[in-house]
Amino acid sequence: MIEVNQLTKKFGRKKVLDGVSFTANKGEITCLIGINGVGKTTTLKAIMGLTPINKGSILIDGETINKNTYEKVAFIPDAITMLPQMTIKQAMQFMQDFYKKWNQERATELLTFFKLDEKTRISELSKGNTAKINLLMGLAIDVDYILMDEPFSGIDIFSREQITEVFTSHLIEDRGVIITTHEINDIEHLIDKVILLDNGIVLKEFNTEQMRQEEGKSVVDVMREVYIG
């Protein structure tokens, strides 16, 4: 379980996160939604220790982030995280060098699934393929949690379909996933849990199926209620 408690983050005087708390469970897909602002990405970075926080705590299975938890959580940002001059093969080699839990079989499987050639250079990848490679780098580590920052933004429809397919496949297994997005449509049926963020606070946290069953509301319905009023 990833526990975020009272997370507060300031950029200068501006509070980007002001006491954000939520949990994300293993085996669930948790979606951080915010229609504007930088809170979502910052939250993921904070979980990964890529940005210092002003207050609060973040625990991954009860541990604060440390070198061992980097074998437990993978972060897939929306930018290239490998050197552009590397080939995909070299990038995978790099990962294999440093991660004990790197699973080369799965990496190869994903490569075939995404129909990518390992000789391609990172710099030559399209936006969609970059996202796939990022996903591959995360999924091929036997991590328990995967954090994805806007996996669908700005990429072509077929890449989206492929990525969506990954989400429903055995590749996710029983891992916990946190996705950030500002656009819910494509993945509404994929997610277990929604956390609505705005102005640095959690406006609402709910389980999607429960919401449908008990209140008959879609995620967008709830968003409309919460954000527009």
Partner: protein, 127 residues
């Protein structure tokens, strides 16, 4: 398999309903193996947890049976299968009745229209 789900009803209930339809129209036979939860989630592009919940619901309703280490199968219990067909028909007729009743149409006229429409749709399908 291409199913569109609406966003306001619980997805698992929609999945169960989809299975019932398939049983009712004979696409799924008694004792037929059905996809695993994971496969189903992938096919329907839904969360595997939801697929799991749907299967659990169907097991509870007796629609499918699962033996350890074997794929789930459609039940061979004729009563349940018939029940499903009847339940769907009755439910469909119920909702039809609900919308047609305020029109105050005579039963004969209604039956005539239904007959005509139904055969038209069927011939279309044939074509």
């Amino acid at each position: 398999m291409n199913v569109t789900f609406n966003n306001r009803d619980p997805v698992y209930i929609q999945v169960v309903r989809y299975f019932k339809e398939q049983i009712a129209n004979g696409n799924l036979m008694a004792g037929q193996e059905i996809p695993s939860r994971r496969e189903l989630a992938a096919m329907l592009k839904i969360n595997p947890n939801t697929a799991q919940k749907a299967y659990k619901e169907m097991e509870e309703q007796g629609l499918i049976t699962t033996e350890r280490n074997y794929p789930s199968k459609i039940t061979t219990n004729e009563n349940i299968l018939h029940g499903v067909r009847e339940e769907l028909i009755v439910a469909a007729v119920d909702s039809f009745m609900q919308s047609i009743r305020p029109l105050n149409i005579s039963i004969d006229e209604l039956l005539h229209i239904v007959q005509e429409k139904y055969s038209q749709e069927s011939s279309k399908e044939v074509l």
